[in-house]
Symmetry: C2
Subunit: 328 residues, 2 copies
C-alpha cells in the first residue's frame, strides 16, 4: 500500500513527518510517498540519520502554509506538497493521503481534486475521542461552519460505518450534540436534525450535552462544524491543562517520595489513555479516497499513528460501502 504524505505540513515538518514515515514503513510495512522539496527531504534524512529505504519522494516546489487561503491549493499553491499528494491519490498512484497541514486547504483539495462520494452533500472532519466508556466519534469538527439538518444525518450515517468497521461497534449509538436532552432543545438546526435522526434507520438515542464527550454512553455524536470545533478545542484545552498540572504536582511530589514511582507508571498509563497522539488523526468523511488530517503539532509517533489509521481506513471498505447506494 502506498500512502501519500505531505512532508511539509504541520508545526514539526519536515523532520517529525519524515521520522513518522520511517516508523510507518518499518512497523506497518507500507510505502510512504513523501511529497515536497526533494533536496530538503534528502538533507533532513541525512542529518537525522533516517534511511530512505522503502520510502519514495515526489518532488514539489512550494509549501502551502497555515496562513495561506484554503483555495490557494487550486491556484497559486497548486505546485505545493499538499497539492502534489492529492494528485498522486487522484491518479491512483497512492491509496490514501495523510497531512498535518492547513485543514481548510485539505478540505478544498479533497473536495475539488478527489471529490466527494456521489450523493454525499458535505465532507466532514471526524475526531475520535477517548471517552470514559470507550472511543467516540464526533463529526463535524470543523469542515462546515454552517450545516443543514440533512448534512448531520449523513455525518451520522458515515460516522456509524466508521465506528463499525474501525472500532468493531455492531450498532453504534448515535446522539445529537445539544444544550439539553429534551427533543425541543437547541437552535433550529438541532430541532430539525433531531426529527430527521429520529425518523432514520440509525440507532439514534437522542440529544446529549457537551459532557458526553468525556462521559461517553454513545458512539457517534453529530453536530455542525462550528459547534464541533468549539467542543473539540475545549476538550483538548482542558485535557492538556490538567495533564500538565498533574505532571507538575507529580514531579514535585516525587522528590519527596521515592515510592511514588509506582504511581508514576500508572499516571503514564492514564495519560496515554487521553493522548491524541495514540488516536491518530481526523478522517475526512465523505471523500472518495481516504484522507486523514493529522494533528498540526504531530510528532513522529502521532504521525505514524495517523498513517496507521489511513491504512485501516483504506482496508475497511467503508468508502466502497458508502459509494454503493444499494447498501444505504
Amino acid at each position: 500500500m502506498k500512502i501519500a504524505v505531505d512532508a511539509f505540513g504541520g508545526d514539526n515538518a519536515p523532520k517529525e513527518i519524515i521520522k513518522g514515515c520511517r516508523l510507518a514503513c518499518d512497523e506497518l510495512g507500507v510505502t510512504p510517498v513523501l511529497c515536497g522539496n526533494r533536496d530538503i527531504i534528502l538533507k533532513t534524512m541525512q542529518s537525522e540519520n533516517i534511511s530512505q529505504s522503502g520510502m519514495e519522494i515526489a518532488d514539489a516546489n512550494s509549501v502551502l502554509s497555515m496562513e495561506d487561503e484554503p483555495t490557494s491549493i487550486l491556484k497559486e499553491k497548486s505546485d505545493s506538497s499538499m497539492a502534489a499528494a492529492f494528485r498522486l491519490v487522484k491518479a491512483g498512484e497512492c491509496d490514501a493521503f495523510v497531512s498535518a497541514g492547513n485543514s481548510g486547504a485539505l478540505l478544498v483539495g479533497a473536495t475539488m481534486i478527489l471529490k466527494r462520494i456521489k450523493g454525499v452533500k458535505r465532507a466532514a472532519f471526524a475526531s475520535v475521542f477517548p471517552s470514559a466508556t470507550g472511543p467516540l466519534l464526533l463529526a463535524d469538527m470543523g469542515a462546515n461552519s454552517v450545516c443543514k439538518p440533512e448534512y448531520l444525518l449523513q455525518f451520522a450515517q458515515f460516522g456509524c460505518e466508521y465506528m463499525k468497521h474501525m472500532h468493531g461497534i455492531e450498532s453504534p449509538r448515535v446522539a445529537l450534540l445539544n444544550n439539553g436532552t429534551e427533543p425541543h432543545k437547541g437552535q433550529q438546526l438541532q430541532q430539525d436534525a433531531y426529527k430527521l435522526l429520529s425518523e432514520s434507520a440509525l440507532n439514534f438515542i437522542g440529544n446529549v450535552e457537551g459532557r458526553a464527550l468525556a462521559n461517553g454512553g454513545c458512539d457517534v455524536i453529530v453536530t455542525d462544524g462550528f459547534t464541533g470545533n468549539i467542543a473539540l478545542k475545549t476538550y483538548e484545552g482542558v485535557g492538556k491543562m490538567m495533564s500538565e498540572g498533574i505532571k507538575d504536582v507529580f514531579e514535585h511530589g516525587i522528590l519527596t517520595s521515592i515510592g511514588a514511582v509506582f504511581v508514576l507508571k500508572q499516571l503514564n498509563d492514564f495519560k496515554k489513555k487521553f493522548d491524541y497522539k495514540e488516536y491518530g488523526g481526523a478522517p475526512l468523511l465523505g471523500i472518495s479516497s481516504p484522507v486523514i488530517k493529522a494533528h498540526g503539532s504531530s510528532d513522529a509517533r502521532a504521525f505514524k499513528n495517523a498513517i496507521r489509521q489511513a491504512v485501516e481506513y483504506t482496508n475497511s471498505g467503508i468508502i466502497e460501502k458508502m459509494s454503493s447506494p444499494a447498501e444505504n
Copy 2:
C-alpha cells in the same frame, strides 16, 4: 443583608441547601431566607441538628422541579419556593436570590418578575472558569440559544463590569468564542459580532478558540447561549473525568507507597483549583437584582460559596452602574 434562597432547588435539596445557608449565616454574617415548605425545612433542621438562629423561613407550598416547564413559575407553580423567593426580592425584602434549581424557570422568573435592567436586551448566564492565567468569565452559557450580535456586545459590557468589580481586573480583555482566530471566522453571528466588538470601546482582543477556556489569555469570552452551554459542559465533563481518573490512579498507587501522601496533599490543592464548588455559581447578568444560579449538584460548601458570590455581587454596585445610562 438578606438573601432569598430556594430551599427546594437542586439535586441535594433541601438538606445541603439548608446546611449551606447555615455556613453562610455563620461565616458571612448574612440572613438567609429559606423559601419552601416550612414543616419540611424545620424537620430537616431538626434531624440534621442545624440551628435556625439567624435564618428566616418564607413558607411556600410547592416545588418547581427540573422537569417543570420554565414558564410554569408564572402559572401553575407560582406558589413554588422559587416563585416565593423572586417575590421577596421584588418586594425589596431580600437583596439577592440564590437557587440551585431549574435554570429555565430561574431565567423566566428573573426576566418576568424582577425584570431586566432598562436597555438590556437579554439576560445572560455567566460562568467564571479557572483558566491557567486566572479566572475568566464566559457569557452566555445557556440563557439564549439564539442571539443577535448586539446581545453579545451587551454580554461583553456586563462581563467586563463583573470582572472589574468582582475580580479586580482593571481593563478586562474581551474575546469572541469562535472556530478560529481570523476575523472572518464563524457563522454570521460571529462575523457580525466581531465587527460590533471591534468598534466598541471595550478592550476587544479578537477571536479565541475553545482551548482559551483552559489556557486563558483573556478575561471575558462572549458567545451565544447554545455554544456557551456546549463549551461549559464539555469543560466540566473533561475536568471531572480527569479528576476522577487521577484520583483512581492515586488511591491505587498510595497503597504501594506510604510516602506518596505528600503528593496527595498537592493533588488536593490542584483539584481545588479546578473545583467549581470553590467558584460559586453563575450570575444572571442583566437582571435588576442579583440572581445567582448555583450548580444543580451543589453541596453545602458550593451553595455557601454561591451565597458569598451573591453578597459580593450585591455590594459591587455593578447593577447600579449598568442601570445608569450616563455611565455607559
